[in-house]
Each structure stands twice: as C-alpha cells, then as structure tokens.
C-alpha cells in the first residue's frame, strides 16, 4: 500500500500555507496528524497532487485558558489532550473520549484540528464539541473567523471551512460550577469507530435542575448531530429518570444511523438511547461532584 506521487510542501508560516492552498486549489490537501489522510492515500482513495504539511508551523499546538475560554491549538495531539491538566480540570469528557480514540500511537500523531476538519461523523470530537458548544477558528488569507460548532459540519466529509482556510483553533467556554461532562461510545473492539457514541455536558443547580446542556452524537447520522430535542427535554427541568428517558427517546428518534457491520439501524437507535441515559447520569454525577 503506497500513495500515489505528490508534491510535498512544508510551509513555515500560516500565511505561506494559505498561499499554497490558494495556489493549488482542489489539488491540495492539508497534512496535519495524517492518520486519516495517509491511510486514504495509501489505499489511493485520496490522490492529492500537493500535500501541505502544517506540522512545521510554530504556534499551533497549545492548550490554555483565557478569559473564561479554553483555547486548543489545532495541532494539539490527542495524547496532549488526553494528559492536559487544564482540560481534566474543566472537562472530564476529554479523558473519556481520548482513551477511546484509536490507540496510543495514533493519539501521539492525530490532532484535534484534523479530527474535526476531516468532517467525518464517525470521528469522536465532533460530538464532544457539540456538547461543549465549542467554536472553531478558521484562518484564511483575509484573517480569522469564528464558526460555531453547530454551523461547522455540512455534509459527508464536508465542513464550513473554505478551500483556502485552515482550522487553527478550537475555543470552548469554561463552564460554571456545577457542570459535568461525559462521553462513551460502543465499539466492536478497542480503537474502532463508534457503533454509537454520545457526548453530554450539563450544568445543574442545587435542586438538581438542569441549567444548561449539550448533547452530541457520534456516527449515527450522516453528519455529526446535536441532539437538540433531547437537550430541550432536560433543560430547565429536574434530571430524573422520566426526563432522561424522554431525552434518550428523542435522541434515538432524531438520529439517522445506517445499518452496517456494527449493527442494524434499530440497534444503533437503541444504543443511542442507552448511551444518552448513561452519559446524562454520569455527567450529572460529575456535575454534583459525586
């Protein structure tokens, strides 16, 4: 398995990278962690003429907190996210999700930016980012723009990124006290894409009422899906088994999974319901410091 020949560019600045993208148009691909792209190139499913490697551009790998927002540089590796104390402090969901992404070697290379920019509903971060209500920063020749995560995923392997834009940063609002988050996916074996995956972040008050909630679903829809009706079923309400059941039911109704080797459509819908239930409970437990 060997890729088709291509030209390799390794720009040293973002401006150079964008200029190369503009020059080569659709013939160019951005190489980040490469663990989605290079396998596709080896299988010759992807045959770019130009590969623009952004790994040499300084200043794209960081995880920091600024004014109530956690900012993650697009080149941050999954392993860095897995072990970040800052993320552990605010978002236990990252420890849940990264452990389930591929395997340790892949996590040493795979980047969070690539995971999102690939636009694959089977990837795990899209659902997490939806639950966390993240914002994606896209940089092009005219500067940077913010794209709310809900507007980022367009279709099968397509995102709101323009051809000459590069995903450079992810911004996540630091949640208030009383917030918890959790992710789980069912997988056929460790490192597999999800049979179904559910990400939840919620905030509860002292009475157990849900003050804020985000629920994202992995690999049960052609594009990454936010379970809006499920969120509504819990927002402003007490987190009890009745409301959770309703949220679970809505998510299973609103997703649109396809049957494959992982299971039937019916199974996946049922698993979405099970996981919504479990992840809401787990997030709520974490929110309440249990």
């Amino acid at each position: 398995m060997i890729p088709q020949s291509f030209q390799y560019e390794s720009p040293g600045t973002m401006a150079d990278a964008i200029a190369l993208l503009e020059k080569h148009g659709d013939e160019a691909k951005i190489l980040s962690g490469g663990h989605s792209l290079i396998p596709m190139m080896k299988l010759r499913f992807a045959t770019p003429e130009y590969l623009i490697d952004i790994n040499g551009i300084p200043g794209l790998s960081y995880i920091r907190e600024e004014k109530g927002t956690v900012k993650i540089g697009a080149l941050s590796r999954e392993a860095e996210i897995e072990h970040s104390d800052l993320l552990k402090k605010h978002f236990p969901i990252f420890a849940d999700v990264t452990k389930l992404i591929a395997d340790p070697q892949v996590r040493n290379r795979g980047t969070i930016g690539g995971n999102l920019a690939h636009g694959d509903a089977a990837n795990d971060h899209p659902a997490v980012m939806m639950a966390l209500q993240a914002t994606v920063i896209a940089t092009g020749s005219g500067g940077s723009r913010s794209i709310p995560i809900d507007e980022f995923f367009f279709g099968f392997y397509t995102t709101a990124l323009k051809q000459n834009e590069i995903l450079t940063e992810i911004q996540i609002p630091v949640p208030p006290a009383g917030t918890g988050s959790a992710y789980h996916k069912l997988e056929r074996k460790v490192g597999d894409y999800a049979t179904a995956g559910v990400a939840v972040q919620l905030t509860v008050d002292g009475k157990g009422v849900c003050k804020a909630i985000g629920i994202g679903l992995t690999n049960v829809n052609p594009i990454p899906l936010r379970a809006v009706r499920s969120e509504q079923a819990l927002l402003g309400k007490v987190i009890n088994s009745e409301n959770i059941a309703l949220a679970a039911q809505f998510a299973s109704e609103d997703c649109n999974p396809s049957a494959d080797l992982r299971g039937s459509e019916e199974y996946k819908r049922a698993m979405v319901a099970v996981l919504v239930k479990r992840m809401v409970l787990k997030a709520a437990e974490r929110a309440m410091g249990k």
């Binding site: 030209q7 390799y8 390794s10 190489l31 490469g34 790994n55 395997d103 460790v190």
Partner: protein
C-alpha cells in the same frame, strides 16, 4: 521531486534523499536497512512498524519520511547494545513474551514509551497501553507479564517469578 532530509537514527545523523511519498517505515527498512521494524498491515491497525519519533511511539507506516526531517528516530536496533538485553527485552525473554517475534519490535518500542510515561503501570493500563499493537501468537498474558517485569526491574524493585502459572 525528491527531498533531502536530515534525520538522526539511533543516535547517528543521516542525510537522505527520498520521494515525498516514501513512507517512514520504507525509509527505515529499505534505505537504512534496519529491518527490525516490520510491516503488518495497511491501515495503521497492527503496530508492527512502531518506532520512536522524538521519543514518542508512532506507527511509521502512517508517517511520511519527509515528515521526519530534523527529527530523531529510535528503532529496535537502537535500544540496546547487541549481546545485551535492556529490561524490556529481558522481560520478554524471561516471561516468554514472544513467539514468532514479528510483532515484538513494535511492541517493545511502544512499551518503551509506555514505561517512560507510566513507570509503574497496572495490568489494565498495560493492556490499554499496547492496544495499538496486535499479536497473533501469545494471547498477550505474557506480554503483560513482561512489562510488569521490566517495570519492576527499571524501578529497582524485585521482579515477580518468571515461572509459568501452569498449575
């Protein structure tokens, strides 16, 4: 157009000319003739090609040689002197952690980083830690045992019995 790259391989700096599409594993095996790094799949699934790139375990089948420019590479040939076994290699030998030997170099390279990050791992952590490396022969029990042995040895505490628990 070929690219000239500079890489430090097992401590020795090398200047090489490669096609951009040359996979790092092919550079290691075919150009540098370091054939201890193996290829077992096409899909980054098996981990047989695992090496250290700037100290991090990576699958060299899914990295381009040009991406290693300016970096340091460690392969199985670079972790100990011939004639001596380092604690991980010794752990494998003492605990029968290998059968056919094909997955072994990748396994050992992965474990090298695992034990650096987590010098005293639990069995569960070891199993998850080597989940990117497939072994078809051993059933993993003895690989886990080998890692525990290496961990103890590297921490300077007594190693557990290497006798088989074959009651």
């Amino acid at each position: 157009m070929n690219k000239v790259i500079t890489v430090t391989v097992n401590g020795v700096q090398q200047v090489l000319e490669v096609e951009p599409r040359t996979l790092l594993v092919h550079m290691i095996r075919e150009i540098l003739n370091l054939t201890g790094t193996h290829i077992g799949c096409d899909t980054s699934s098996c981990g047989a090609c695992t090496i250290l790139l700037d100290g991090k375990s990576v699958k060299s089948c899914t990295i381009l040689a040009v991406q290693a420019n300016g970096k340091s590479i460690t392969t199985i040939e670079g972790i100990s002197t011939e004639g001596e076994l380092n604690p991980i290699q010794e752990g494998f030998k003492e605990n029968h952690g290998l059968h056919c030997g094909f997955c072994t170099p990748g396994m050992i390279m992965r474990i090298t980083e695992l034990l650096k990050d987590n010098p005293d791992p639990t069995e569960e952590e070891i199993r998850w830690g080597i989940s990117g490396n497939l072994c078809r022969c051993t059933g993993y029990n003895n690989i886990v045992k080998a890692v525990l042995y290496a961990s103890a040895k590297m921490r300077g505490v007594p190693t557990a019995s290497t006798e088989p628990e074959f009651v």
